[in-house]
């Protein structure tokens, strides 16, 4: 019996020729990631360790993104804790205000993750880098502390689900609609403890930004990781962004999967996840009027340049509806700058939206767009749990940047096609 793509990467990093699903292994890490919320906990844990030196100062990334520029005294102290630690240990990849971005958009952009890597991050959406053909998964702060000190971490080798994507998606169907459709299909625990491997001819129609979005939300189906094969698009992306060498792994032809799903992308429609779970998906057009109070376009799921461009295409020459607040947050400084150069920020501001410096901000109910009781938000983020974006009686509807932008214009959940686009 062969190995899946994920199993091959894990075997190589654990020093085995072969691993099997369920096996406990210790794998060598190529990158360890933490943010301003999880790193302080990890740093405190590390202070309890006998060996307090980091295993490799180039293989640790600390990204200040959740509450920055700092929203209050406690978050300032948390960032200071990270900053002091980074200085003391000469952490090369420390990103603070001015160089920052949301971690999962920033790491690929800075070339810090490439195909074949094993990455652990103290953040659940670390699974994003599977788009590049890496094994990456989220852990906790103690994982991060142990990983920073030893460069290794324990894993249970996952079994896998195979998603065969065929056909070409239509104009307003993006990576977000594809992953929401899949989560609707298998449920929020449909991939629990497993890898989600995406294959098929359909993937050639997906940009890297689409693939990052898809892998980003693997965790919303309970998945341990999401992963794409490495094709020319992935190689071109790595050539543009990374200096470090990459390694391409392919699943064996006789690899075993727990289940296989074939999805014809040409049949998918723009999809929205209703409160309060990402699995509560409905196709736009299949439900009645849902009036909204706020739109958020951003996050590690959909704050990349393709997302910002798509939203701008829809908002161009239009206005945000009277009773709607629309907040656009490019995910990194580079994306912000690119959007500025392309004149996209002007389009948003002229439409009556606001544009924020990169931050997680409202995605986790931190700041910069918190909801009051009874308010509804269409958001391009990844979670719509109770109270995720503010008051426990507020509601979050997850959607693509295209649907979010169209909804900002009409004041209710809408497809761009309703604007004649």
């Amino acid at each position: 019996m062969g190995m899946t793509m994920t199993q091959k990467i894990l075997a190589a990093h654990a020093g085995f020729d072969k691993v099997e699903a369920g096996q406990l292994i210790e794998a060598n890490l190529d990158m360890v990631l933490g943010n301003d919320i999880t790193s302080p906990v990890a740093i405190n844990e590390m202070k309890k360790m006998k060996n307090q030196t980091v295993f490799d100062k180039e293989k640790i990334a600390l990204v200040m993104d959740h509450f920055i520029p700092n929203k209050d005294i406690k978050s300032a102290e948390n960032c200071k804790c990270c900053r002091d630690f980074a200085r003391e240990h000469e952490i090369v990849n420390y990103f603070d205000v001015g160089e920052m971005g949301i971690e999962h958009a920033l790491l690929p952009e800075k070339g810090l993750v490439v195909a074949g890597d094993v990455v652990i991050g103290a953040d659940s959406h670390t699974c994003t880098y599977g788009a590049l053909g890496a094994f990456s998964t989220g852990g906790g702060s103690t994982d991060m502390a142990a990983a920073m000190a030893t460069g290794k971490i324990w894993f249970k080798v996952p079994s896998a689900l195979k998603f065969v994507l065929t056909g070409k998606p239509s104009k307003w169907v993006s990576g977000k609609d594809i992953i929401l459709h899949i989560i609707g299909l298998i449920g929020v625990d449909g991939a629990l403890y497993r890898s989600m491997e995406f294959v098929g001819d359909g993937i050639r129609h997906l940009s890297m930004d689409d693939r990052f979005t898809i892998c980003n939300m693997a965790i919303e189906a309970g998945g341990k990781n999401g992963i794409f094969p490495v094709d020319e698009k992935a190689i071109a992306y790595m050539k543009e962004h990374a200096d470090k060498p990459y390694q391409v792994y392919e699943a064996d032809a006789d690899a075993e999967y727990d289940a296989e799903y074939t999805i014809d992308l040409s049949t998918l429609k723009p999809t929205v996840a209703f409160p309060h779970l990402p699995e509560n998906t409905k196709e736009v057009g299949s439900f009645g009027e849902v009036k909204i109070d706020q739109v958020v376009i951003g996050s590690c799921t959909n704050g990349r340049i393709q997302d910002i461009r798509q939203a701008a295409e829809i908002m161009k020459g239009r206005k945000v509806a009277k009773d709607v607040r629309c907040i656009v947050i490019p995910a990194t400084q580079a994306i912000y700058l690119q959007a500025m150069r392309e004149g996209l920020l002007e389009i948003f501001i002229e439409a009556g939206a606001v544009v924020s410096t990169p931050t997680c901000g409202p995605c986790l109910g931190g700041y910069m767009g918190i909801l009051a009781a009874g308010e509804r938000c269409v958001s391009t983020t990844n979670r719509n749990f109770v109270g995720r974006m503010g008051h426990v009686d507020s509601e979050v509807y997850l959607a693509s940047p295209a649907v979010a932008a169209a909804s900002a214009v009409t004041g209710m959940i809408s497809c761009p096609c309703e604007l004649g686009l």
Binding site: V41, N78, G139, T142, D143, A146, T150, D189, G365
Partner: protein, 160 residues
């Protein structure tokens, strides 16, 4: 290793945002976090919970963010074990890594009711419901995880 206590029972997909809402994440100390544990789903929890008590959830307990603040808040609230049909994977890792015992057992998760008195033996994975006089066989920890838990978490385990 054993645990004994009264049960607080919850449903499917109890996510980390309700276990410890993000608005409190600027705190890192377990005792501070514990004050807000389960607040968005059960305001009474923190006033009623006693040392040794047990949480029973259903499917996918602890889904959502990777915040270790979630199992930490539960542990520091005095809870001795969480039983569920299944756990979200990062919650599972985090709980083991901070030395908070958790057991997967679909039968126990279904049968145990709110307020039942329950005893757990971690070595065998046996769960005994004292109130109903029923027993359920849960998953015993692999030896490697027992070592981490009895060391008091991954850091102490690494320290040897």
């Amino acid at each position: 290793m054993q645990a004994k206590g009264r049960v607080f029972k919850y449903g499917d997909n109890i996510d980390t945002d309700v276990i410890i809402p993000a608005r409190y994440l600027n705190a890192t100390e377990g005792t501070e976090l514990a004050k807000h544990c389960m607040e968005d789903i059960d305001k009474e929890f923190i006033h009623k919970v006693k040392k040794g008590d047990i949480i029973v959830g259903q499917k996918n307990f602890g889904c959502g963010s990777s915040r270790e603040h979630a199992p930490l808040a539960i542990k520091c609230a005095g809870v001795s074990c969480v039983i569920a049909e299944t756990f979200a994977r990062i919650f599972y890792r985090n709980a083991i890594n901070i030395g908070m015992p958790i057991i997967e057992c679909p039968e126990a998760a279904r049968s145990i009711e709110d307020g039942d008195e329950v005893e757990i033996d971690f070595d065998s994975g046996m769960i005994h419901n004292v109130t109903k006089n029923e027993s359920y066989k849960g998953q015993a920890f692999p030896p490697f995880m027992q070592k981490i838990i009895s060391a008091g978490g991954l850091i102490h385990y690494i320290n040897g």
